[in-house]
């Protein structure tokens, strides 16, 4: 029972990583760029919700604050693409990596200035509630995280593989010029993807903040989500979720049974291992360049 509890707690953590990783993967799939600020997007989304609903701040109703936060982060994602990323059109992947790292710095700075650097937790209606199920105590927040994540992953998967817009997004990433010729509005699609991943980050942030305290540097969690995305191969949505779950569970289990310090480095060690053994991730999609 104890072990099961551990696994479920790990799965809930893993879902948050998975959600952030979904954000990376979506942007990567549609624009071939990697958003190193996704973790900071998540942090910022959580803070917006917190600023709206916590009694110390505005004290709005939680269920009102959530959609506002998600919409705001969507708008922020859109704005970031329109004002910054789009100007980088055609530059190297690495330039965009550095750019998004810098964006993360700025978001962290902004969050710290607006909401302080102290860890705070989000006040939710379901805080502290739990359900006992066959001897296992499950927090409502943990169940919510898992359910929301699964639903989002399924929705996104169908969006990318079944809808016109989703397919157009993939086409836009694989050959921008050809996509243009086919009449796909490449730029608008990229902005949409950024908006979508901003909204996704807000959801991840709210779920994360419902589970524990947040502070501006929590965005560095994004690095663990990278491990998740890389394990999944960066191009696969279900892969990202699976990667997140693996990281989450491994982290919990090693912290319980491993030597001290191991659980901290386990995600990164796993990331390295995957990159060395299977550079394309477990769901590989790369091939050699043709000449």
């Amino acid at each position: 029972m104890d072990f099961l509890q551990l696994v479920i707690s790990g799965l809930a953590n893993g879902c948050v990583y998975g959600l952030i990783a979904l954000g990376f993967v979506m942007i990567y799939k549609a624009t071939e760029a990697v958003n190193f600020a996704q973790g900071d997007f998540m942090m910022f989304g959580a803070f917006i919700c917190l600023g709206l609903t916590n009694t110390a701040h505005l004290g709005l109703n939680f269920w009102l604050a959530v959609p506002i936060a998600i919409a705001t982060m969507g708008a922020l994602g859109y704005a970031v693409d329109r004002t910054v990323i789009r100007q980088m059109f055609g530059q190297s992947q690495v330039a965009i990596v550095i750019l998004t790292i810098a964006l993360g710095f700025i978001l962290r700075f902004a969050a710290g200035t607006i909401w302080s650097h102290e860890p705070v937790s989000l006040e939710t209606p379901f805080a502290g509630q739990s359900i006992t199920f066959g001897g296992v105590v499950l927090g409502v927040n943990e169940i919510l995280i898992i359910v929301v994540t699964v639903i989002l992953t399924v929705l996104l998967y169908f969006f990318f593989s079944r809808t016109r817009l989703g397919v157009a997004m993939q086409a836009a990433s694989q050959n921008q010029l050809a996509a243009y010729y086919m009449g796909i509005p490449v730029k608008r699609i990229q902005s949409l993807v950024w908006a979508l991943s901003g909204a996704l980050a807000a959801i991840a942030g709210i779920l994360f903040a419902a589970k524990g305290a947040i502070e501006p540097n929590v965005g560095l969690l994004g690095i663990k989500a990278f491990a998740a995305a890389a394990i999944g191969g960066f191009g696969s949505l279900p892969g990202a979720l699976v990667g997140g779950l693996i990281i989450g569970v491994v982290e919990q289990v090693t912290s319980r049974y491993g030597i001290t310090g191991l659980s901290q480095i386990a995600p990164y060690a796993l990331l390295l291992l995957v990159l060395i053994v299977r550079p394309g991730g477990l769901f590989s999609q790369t091939q050699k360049k043709k000449v």
């Binding site: 990697v34 990596v97 750019l99 810098a102 964006l103 921008q176 310090g261 480095i265 091939q287």
Partner: protein, 364 residues
């Protein structure tokens, strides 16, 4: 505009294109040498920091700017150099031996550790180096008996020709040590860029396929670039240890790695000058902010102290650079120079490059 009439291949090979260019660099060196005459011990310490970061940034520039391999883990190599240096000094090895060795140890260890991930590209390589960087920071904590772990350890002063040199006791001498190391690294770097090995780095940066077709062994050449890069970073790390006087597991963290990368992009990726310009910006921001704060406080009694402001401003500069001047500060300088040389014939699109479109290498 000055036209150089080249009469021998040496004119192309030499460090300086012509006498006037040599003059400017000699003048710069003279100013650097004379700096202690004009400025106080506090600012000379900051000057020394600029030089240290320049050396580290040159290390990263070699790998990222000239070989095209991004690294988010260069602080780890600095850490290796620093701890190796301190351990050797504590073991009684003279500084003159320990210091260069610490660079080489960082180079060798860095190459060995990074070897498995060197075949990765772009984002994947950045991620792998990021993971390595974090792992090494944790290893520093775990290796407490040697590194002092979280508590850290004190860095002994440099002892050179019977003279104790440390940043606070003898700031001017420390500055000269840093200057000497910087000049040495610059010379090695410059030599590299005009020789076959340096050219093979450029080749790998621009086209691995072509480089192979020209007979360049990818893995070996990348490993050499990494070795030299990590060596420079290790030397910088050792100097940084002396400058800080005390190091712990958080001295060389991920943020420093990221800042190094931001430095070389702000300065100008692919230009040696860029490493220096970036290091200057990085060191000047906190200084300027501190001065500004004191000014506000004394003049208007306003007290602003927002943590993370330095990082925010530094990141903001980077974004502005990437958007408006991808060649960095050195690119700005190049354009300015061309503008004045050609006045009034400078055209806006002189440095314009062809737009490239992104093509994936994935198959679905």
């Amino acid at each position: 505009m000055r036209f150089v009439f080249k009469t021998s291949y040496d004119a192309d090979i030499n460090w300086f294109k012509h006498k006037y260019q040599a003059f400017w660099y000699v003048l710069l060196l003279a100013i650097m040498l004379a700096a202690p005459l004009f400025i106080g011990s506090y600012f000379i310490g900051e000057f020394a920091l600029v030089l240290i970061f320049s050396v580290a940034a040159m290390g990263l520039m070699l790998l990222t700017g000239h070989t095209g391999l991004p690294s988010l883990g260069h602080a780890a190599f600095m850490a290796m150099g620093c701890f190796a240096n301190v351990l050797m000094l504590n073991a009684g090895i003279p500084w003159l031996i320990a210091f260069p060795l610490s660079g080489i140890i960082a180079g060798l260890a860095g190459t060995l550790i990074m070897l498995p991930v060197l075949r990765l590209h772009g984002v994947y390589l950045a991620l792998a180096t990021l993971a390595l960087s974090i792992l090494i920071a944790d290893i520093v904590v775990l290796a407490e008996p040697w590194t002092g772990g979280v508590a850290g350890m004190i860095v002994p002063p440099i002892s050179l020709f019977g003279q104790e040199i440390d940043r606070f006791g003898t700031p001017f001498l420390f500055y000269y040590v840093c200057l000497a190391v910087t000049v040495l690294v610059v010379m090695l770097y410059r030599n590299l860029l005009r020789s076959p090995l340096g050219r093979s780095f450029l080749a790998i940066r621009d086209s691995e396929v072509s480089a192979q077709a020209m007979g360049i062994h990818l893995a070996q050449t990348k490993a050499r670039s990494l070795f030299l890069s990590a060596t420079f970073a290790g030397l910088a790390g050792a100097l940084f240890g002396h400058s800080a006087g005390y190091v712990n597991s958080e001295t060389f963290d991920l943020v420093l790695s990221i800042n190094l990368l931001i430095m070389i992009v702000i300065g100008g990726l692919g230009f040696m000058h860029g490493a220096f310009l970036g290091a200057v910006v990085y060191t000047v921001i906190p200084l300027a902010l501190a001065i500004f704060r004191t000014f506000l406080q004394t003049a208007f009694d306003i007290n602003i102290n927002i943590p993370g402001m330095e990082a925010g401003i530094f990141a903001g500069i980077l974004i502005i650079m990437l958007l408006f001047e991808p060649m960095g500060l050195y690119g700005v300088w190049l354009k300015l120079r061309t503008y004045f040389e050609l006045f009034p014939f400078y055209r806006k699109d002189m440095f314009k490059r062809q737009k490239s479109y992104l093509k994936t290498e994935r198959v679905q």
